[in-house]
């Protein structure tokens, strides 16, 4: 039953985002594992479309913020304005008060604004003028970065990158998918017509189910070996943090559930590993291994 719903979600998203089944599956995994997603790719490959489609399919409220260098935290979080009728300040919620927020080109904003967003991501609440406002549940951030033109940008530091469960790339569609895209309907309109496949309650149930996927001691051993390898092999400047380890486990669980299994296999870990740890590890020898995570998979034996 669960499996059917997931299949339906994937099918709906894949009908809009063409030829990117693996990426879509990773993005869904990220949301099911309650993680925030960072998409790093060129403009126009469908980052916004992917975020929007996911929101609609999962029945989540959606907001998009285009980050610019003159943006202030209040532009995201909201602002208190004096109400002359009530004779008091009232808080006007910013765009962050939504279930799925697309932070477009997050590296264009100043570190101050970035940190306002990232703090909200971590705490899942916003504190303004002594008042604490809870963010809606579930709450996701899908942030995008444009890697090509870094002039005038503020690249996210490692500590901030660590808050994103996954970083994925979308990439160009293949010839076949592109042909369908070019000859087919307008994607924007299609999203408008798209219906939610499941309810929010159902979605939260799925998240819980993903969390309950069984990870055997043998699998925990494997994850530990991966963590140990990242710390001791000397290939990376810093090893993976415990948070990265937890994220890896929950992502692997969600992936296993999407694949319709109630136990996590080493393959699941391997499938999510590049997206989960890719942005957290800096290879020591940068020009040697661009595929450092794949090398890492090959080097760690499955216990």
């Amino acid at each position: 039953m669960t499996h059917n719903e997931i299949a339906a979600i994937l099918q709906a998203v894949n009908s809009i985002i063409l030829g990117k089944k693996h990426t879509v599956k990773l993005a869904l995994t990220c949301l099911l594992a309650r993680g925030h997603l960072l998409i790093e790719d060129m403009p126009g490959v469908g980052k916004t479309t992917l975020a929007h489609t996911l929101a609609t399919t999962l029945g989540l409220s959606f907001q998009r913020i285009q980050f610019t260098s003159d943006m202030l935290p209040a532009d995201i979080l909201g602002v208190s304005i004096f109400d002359s009728e009530l004779k008091q300040f009232t808080f006007h919620k910013g765009p962050i008060f939504t279930q799925l927020i697309l932070a477009d080109e997050v590296n264009r904003a100043t570190p101050r604004t970035q940190s306002a967003l990232l703090e909200a991501m971590e705490e899942r609440q916003v504190s303004i003028e002594g008042q604490t406002y809870s963010l809606p549940e579930p709450f996701f951030v899908i942030a995008t970065q444009n890697p090509s033109s870094q002039i005038g940008t503020f690249p996210l530091p490692e500590s901030q990158l660590d808050r994103f469960l996954m970083q994925i790339e979308i990439g160009y569609p293949d010839t076949e998918a592109e042909r369908i895209l070019l000859s087919g309907h307008n994607r924007k309109q299609m999203i408008q017509q798209l219906q939610a496949v499941i309810s929010i309650d159902k979605f939260i149930e799925l998240q819980t189910a993903a969390d309950n996927t069984h990870a055997a001691p043998a699998l925990i051993d494997y994850i530990q070996q991966i963590l140990a390898h990242s710390r001791d092999s000397g290939h990376f400047h810093f090893g993976l943090s415990p948070r990265a380890g937890l994220g890896l486990l929950s992502a692997a669980k969600a992936w296993a559930m999407i694949d319709g299994r109630d136990q996590v296999l080493p393959e699941d870990v391997q499938a999510v590993l590049p997206s989960v740890v890719g942005h957290r590890l800096q290879p020591r020898d940068e020009h040697i291994s661009s595929d450092h995570v794949k090398d890492m998979i090959a080097q760690v034996a499955i216990p």
Partner: protein, 648 residues
């Protein structure tokens, strides 16, 4: 760097100053480069090359001048030290660091050519730890491993090496002969009794705390006053120097010992002194079994080969005996005196001789002369110019045992009584910690033997006439504290006692070290192995045995580790069997390949067995990774047993 300096430091005392100077300059330069960023000669400008060539050339020249050639221990070590210094300033790549490290280990080994004491060994152990730490740092580029944990790892590794070290120590074949022999110059001058005696050369020994030999008595310990340790016997004199009988005069007859009483059994551990003689309690009545020795006519126990390593031998001695009562072939030699010397002494002897002809009375006259005529026993006798015997007897009257022995012998010979000088040691100190008697260089002594018809050779110690304490209580009672202990504690009796206690413990430790570690040579090894049931193996078979036993040991350890790693999990073992079956067909699972990925790959290559492969892989993942597996171990085992893929 520290390791290299420490490793080289003992060489200061053995190497010429310039060698160490070059070495330390290079090390210092490099250190300043690392800390303060001082410039090093750069390779681009060729200055490094020229500098190195220059120093190397100078060093080579100096070496040839100092040692004559490059062969030999000292020259070799000096060359190694200088070149290592040069290597240090040109360290650039990883490889250079490795090379320096390994050369450092080699430097550690060279230290043992010179000294094998506990302090050296401990210092070198520290150096080895530092070197190993360096190697660990070189091999792990991770900064997260701080220097303390690297040090810890080095210690762990060395501790793990200890069992292997013990096995090698016990079983590595010890070979007598040139293979392990050090070059000739390894046996430099040693302090100790010489085969000749000039007035003044024994009193030089008095300041030496060095141990000459150790004795362990089985049973009773003789009185201090009979602890005469017999060494070289001196007959011939040219007026100043006394020497042994020349070789051609010596005959092979053994001395005739009779009427023996008071027997003592003891074993001696003699420090190497590069000479033939062995010291024995006067007078040895058995020959050692463990050494090839002979007893000369004048009662010296001599080894056939010079004592170049610490030797141990068992002896039986009698402190009461009669020696060559009948006659002695060398009596004429015992009356020889240079014709034109010692005129005043000869006159005195002639006066006595006119008085009496009885040897025993003559002896008494001479001893009375010493005790009544204001003679003093002193550790620092004045320099004697001219005829030293006359000078001592009639002018200075201050002397050490050798003065008394020599002048007494001259007096006796001049009076017509056959006499000779015996050198050796007198006394010894029992270490209360382990009951071993230590005889040090400062216990060196010289006394006289005269021959009397009917009594044979009799020991007369003229020193006793002057200083009874020296004979009865040993040299320590004569020596002030200040000569026996470090300066700062010499004024306090209590501190001195503590110091004494400490040095006793240290001596006991050294005795153990010498007895159990350094003395473990071919003989002890043979004995030990025959106790283990391997009688008299030759070294070839021992090498084979050693190789075999170490291989077995390592094999057992690696198997043990391997099994621990696999943890005997039947699910994993069975899966391993499944993988092995596929591997026989050339489908080998990568260690990092997940079971499902592997199954899919295997199915592509073996479509016929697709069903079985998928089933087993599914069962495996269920059993290994599921909370509630949907299959039982029995089914899984049966499936794997029935799985027998064949190449299509």
């Amino acid at each position: 760097m520290l390791g290299l300096s420490l490793g080289a430091s003992p060489h200061f005392s053995y190497q010429p100053l310039w060698v160490m100077l070059i070495f330390m300059t290079m090390i210092g330069w490099r250190c300043m480069n690392l800390w303060r960023n001082w410039p090093l000669p750069s390779k681009q400008h060729r200055s490094l090359t020229w500098l190195q060539l220059g120093i190397a050339a100078i060093a080579t020249l100096l070496l040839v001048r100092s040692y004559g050639n490059f062969i030999g221990r000292d020259a070799g070590v000096a060359l190694l030290t200088v070149m290592l210094g040069l290597k240090v300033i040109e360290i650039r790549s990883h490889r250079d660091y490795y090379l320096s490290c390994f050369l450092g280990y080699f430097l550690v080994v060279t230290n043992f050519f010179y000294s094998q004491t506990i302090p050296t060994a401990s210092l070198m152990f520290v150096v080895v730890i530092i070197m190993t730490t360096c190697l660990i740092s070189l091999n792990s580029p991770i900064q997260s491993l701080d220097s303390r944990s690297r040090l810890k790892l080095a210690n762990q590794m060395l501790l793990q090496a200890i069992p292997l070290m013990l096995v090698l120590f016990v079983f590595f074949p010890r070979i007598e002969g040139p293979l392990w022999g050090l070059p000739q110059d390894a046996y430099g001058a040693k302090t100790g009794i010489d085969d000749s005696m000039t007035l003044g050369n024994i009193s030089q020994l008095i300041l030496s705390d060095e141990i000459a030999f150790r004795v362990k008595f089985d049973g009773d310990i003789p009185n201090q006053s009979v602890l005469y340790w017999r060494g070289p016997v001196l007959w011939e004199t040219d007026g100043t120097t006394w020497t042994e009988l020349t070789r051609k005069k010596q005959n092979s007859a053994t001395p005739n010992i009779s009427n023996t009483h008071s027997s003592y059994q003891y074993s001696t551990m003699l420090e190497p002194h590069n000479n033939h003689w062995l010291f024995a309690l006067d007078f040895p009545t058995t020959l050692p079994i463990t050494l090839k020795t002979h007893l000369t006519q004048d009662g010296q126990l001599r080894a056939d080969a010079p004592v170049r390593q610490r030797v141990q031998y068992q002896l039986n001695s009698h402190t009461q005996f009669q020696f060559n009562v009948g006659s002695d072939v060398h009596l004429a030699d015992a009356l020889q005196l240079p014709a034109d010397k010692h005129q005043r002494t000869k006159q005195l002897a002639q006066q006595w001789r006119n008085h009496t002809q009885q040897p025993s009375e003559l002896v008494q006259l001479a001893l009375d002369h010493f005790s009544q005529q204001n003679f003093f026993y002193t550790l620092s006798p004045p320099q004697l110019a001219g005829d030293s015997i006359d000078g001592f007897l009639f002018e200075s009257r201050r002397g050490f045992c050798e003065h008394y022995a020599a002048s007494f012998t001259v007096l006796m010979r001049a009076a017509g009584v056959p006499a000779r000088i015996v050198t050796g040691y007198l006394g010894g100190e029992i270490n209360p910690v382990d009951g071993v008697m230590l005889i040090r260089q400062r216990d060196a002594h010289a006394w006289t033997e005269i021959w009397i018809e009917g009594d044979g050779w009799l020991r007369v110690d003229p020193t006793a006439a002057v200083s009874k304490e020296r004979i009865e209580h040993g040299i320590n009672t004569i020596m002030p504290f200040s000569m026996r202990s470090p300066m700062f504690i010499s004024h306090s009796r209590q501190l001195f006692d503590i110091w004494q206690q400490l040095s006793n413990n240290w001596d006991a430790l050294n005795t153990g070290w010498d007895q159990w570690i350094l003395a473990y040579g071919p003989k002890l090894q043979k004995e030990f192995l025959s106790k283990l049931g391997m009688p008299a193996p030759n070294w070839q078979s021992m090498v084979i045995l050693l190789t075999l036993s170490i291989t077995t040991l390592l094999l057992i350890i690696s198997l043990f580790l391997f099994y621990q790693y696999k943890r005997h999990d039947p699910i994993v073992q069975l899966y391993q069997r499944f993988c092995n079956k596929l591997a026989r067909l050339g489908i080998v699972r990568e260690p990092s390949e997940g079971p499902l990925d592997f199954a899919i790959r295997a199915c592509k290559q073996l479509p016929t067995y697709q069903h079985q492969i998928m089933l087993i892989s599914h069962q495996y993942t269920q059993l290994r990774y599921s909370l509630e597996p949907s299959v039982s171990l029995v089914e899984y085992r049966r499936e794997i047993r029935q799985f027998n893929p064949k190449q299509e």
